[in-house]
């Protein structure tokens, strides 16, 4: 009682202590949720609604939006070749993440296993890039990808092996691969961590039983470990897809979406129109497309798997 009194006194609600319990409870619910709800409505929900409104205008950002254009922005976006490149790049990054990055992370998680000596060391090292900021990761990769073999380490290795140095970030055919390498370097440790935790939740007795029944290591993995890991894999896929759709900082620093838009993503496209060219109505429409894509993907995902585990897992 005492702390509630001091708490309410501080808020100038001295009379509250005498009020019925029920009212106190409601007041507490209200006060506890208030800051979160206000911040969330003002900075997450309201911006969504507002950008829906602005997306219907041709608006340069100065003065009120008056030049109403209806859905023209939305139509122009899907007609823009650059946006389609950005969309394709997003899908490509998703595909590469799902078929290269996640299997690699899973393989490493299995290799590190439960009791390998040095397990904590490997985990700490593999997870380090995830903790470093995207700016630092992008700059480090910018340095080692330098086309000059005397400045870029990767080209130095290629030359030492007898090859020709490559302009990784200057070549439209290579830029996305180079960026994807950097993204994998940065993010595989996170997925590996998820898989390691998932593996740890599988009782070792089950795998042992498989071994007793004569399954070899590979059968054991595909018929026992993998199915039991499916909820972790789903979570990992979900995070990976949403992350790929909105890739921005690493791309912006390494290539600015270039050369000639070859590495454009939807987020760099939106940033270019919103903050470089100040076509805010058009940029808002891009934001809405991205939001809808994420929403549709989430809904499909929910439909097939009920809830992402990082929502449902926390309820139990």
């Amino acid at each position: 009682m005492q702390s509630l009194n001091t708490f309410s006194n501080r808020l100038g609600l001295k009379s509250m202590a005498g009020l019925p319990r029920k009212f106190q409870d409601y007041l507490m619910i209200f006060l506890f949720l208030l800051p979160a709800v206000i911040l969330f409505l003002l900075f997450v929900v309201y911006p969504i609604l507002q950008s829906v409104y602005y997306s219907l205008f041709n608006w340069k950002g100065f003065g009120p939006a008056e030049d109403f254009v209806g859905l023209a922005n939305f139509q122009n976006i899907i007609k823009d070749r650059v946006f389609l490149i950005a969309l394709r790049n997003g899908l490509l990054i998703i595909a590469l993440s799902l078929f290269i990055q996640l299997p690699l992370s899973l393989l490493l998680a299995v290799l590190v296993g439960r009791d390998l000596p040095g397990r904590t060391f490997f985990r700490a090292v593999f997870f380090l890039p995830y903790v470093l900021s995207e700016v630092i990761a992008a700059l480090m990769w910018l340095f080692i990808l330098n086309p000059d073999p005397d400045r870029g380490f990767i080209n130095a290795v290629i030359v030492a092996l007898g090859g020709q140095p490559l302009a990784w970030l200057g070549n439209p055919d290579l830029v996305l691969i180079a960026i994807f390498a950097a993204l994998t370097w940065k993010y595989f440790g996170y997925h590996m961590l998820l898989f390691m935790t998932g593996l740890q939740n599988i009782p070792s007795e089950i795998e042992e039983a498989g071994r007793v029944d004569g399954a070899n290591a590979i059968q054991n993995f595909f018929y026992i470990t993998l199915p039991l890991l499916s909820s972790t894999i789903r979570t990992s896929v979900y995070i990976s897809v949403l992350g790929s759709l909105q890739q921005f900082i690493m791309v912006w620093i390494m290539s600015k979406g270039g050369p000639v838009n070859a590495s454009e993503t939807m987020a760099t496209y939106m940033y270019r129109f919103g903050f470089v060219r100040f076509q805010l109505g058009y940029g808002s429409a891009v934001a809405i497309y991205m939001f809808l894509l994420c929403l549709i993907f989430s809904l499909i995902y929910l439909h097939f798997t009920r809830k992402p585990d990082y929502l449902s897992g926390l309820e139990g």
Binding site: P35, F43, V44, S51, S133, I136, M140, L314
Partner: protein, 288 residues
């Protein structure tokens, strides 16, 4: 127990080969992870001339000049940027921990009408990450006159950390046995007493995890400051690092030193708080 003893792996050639392959792959990946980092450290510890003539050799003897010049040259404004980052990080982390634990407590332990509705609202936030929201958020900040103001960065970072962290804390709070709450109520505690005196002390590891995650997120964030802050006196470290590379990009040794120094706090923090970071991330994503 008997079965276990019989099937305990024995140290034979096959086992040895398997272990060897395991370590071979893992060590290869360790080397790949370290390549960009080692190249950066080597570059930072050489003079500009040394870096030109022998770019990939170890820096023997190490040259500390680049690092010292960054730390002591006011023009490079390393310290003011560090200070801006610290202020934003402290404010954001405090805000996230306080606001999220209040809300998560209600969602986990108190029932009221429309609770599910309000909660669903917050899950929507998970589908609307800041990278997508940044342009719409920019409009709101401009209307509120929060551009070129560190508070703008702090508020936006906090707002976009709410959803995820409320979910994490709600999970932890819900796991505390209901008997404890009943016992506290019987002993005359109010709901607030229970929250303040029993739940929060019990949830310290969870709060530490949320705090550690938020600190990393805030410290590393580039996008929000990039959009909100124009004034170079208010640049936090990541934004400053990017601009430094733009301005002094020709002097690779100097830029390497700057990047190294701006990465150092994160690495040190990671070494100390690895457990909290890992537990926060896995609680947020993995069932169990």
């Amino acid at each position: 127990m008997q079965a276990r003893a019989v099937y305990r792996p024995t140290f034979n050639a096959r086992k040895f080969l398997q272990r060897f392959l395991q370590y071979f792959v893992l060590v290869t990946v360790v080397i790949l992870v370290f390549v960009p980092i080692v190249i950066l450290v080597f570059g930072a510890l050489k003079t500009r001339g040394e870096l030109m003539s022998s770019p990939y050799t170890p820096p023997i003897p190490p040259r500390w000049e680049n690092l010292i010049s960054i730390l002591t040259t006011p023009r490079y404004s390393f310290w003011p940027m560090l200070w801006n980052s610290v202020m934003v990080m402290v404010a954001t982390t405090t805000g996230v921990v306080v606001i999220c634990s209040l809300a998560a407590f209600i969602f986990a332990r108190i029932d009221f009408r429309f609770k599910n509705w309000v909660f669903q609202l917050f899950t929507l936030g998970l589908m609307f990450p800041i990278n997508i929201a940044i342009l719409p958020v920019y409009f709101v900040l401009r209307q509120l006159n929060l551009l070129d103001n560190l508070w703008g960065v702090i508020i936006v970072q906090t707002a976009f950390q709410l959803s995820g962290n409320i979910m994490i804390l709600r999970g932890f709070f819900a796991a505390i046995p209901a008997e404890l709450q009943d016992a506290a109520y019987i002993d005359g505690c109010t709901a607030f007493d229970f929250f303040w005196r029993i739940l929060l002390p019990l949830a310290k590891p969870a709060l530490a995890a949320v705090a550690a995650l938020t600190m990393i997120m805030s410290w590393n964030d580039l996008l929000v400051p990039l959009v909100v802050i124009n004034n170079d006196k208010l640049w936090p470290l990541p934004l400053g690092t990017m601009q430094f590379q733009g301005q002094y990009g020709q002097d690779l040794a100097l830029v390497s030193a700057f990047v190294l120094l701006s990465a150092l706090p994160t690495v040190v923090f990671y070494l100390f708080a690895e457990r909290q970071i890992v537990s926060g991330l896995t609680a947020g994503a993995v069932k169990g």
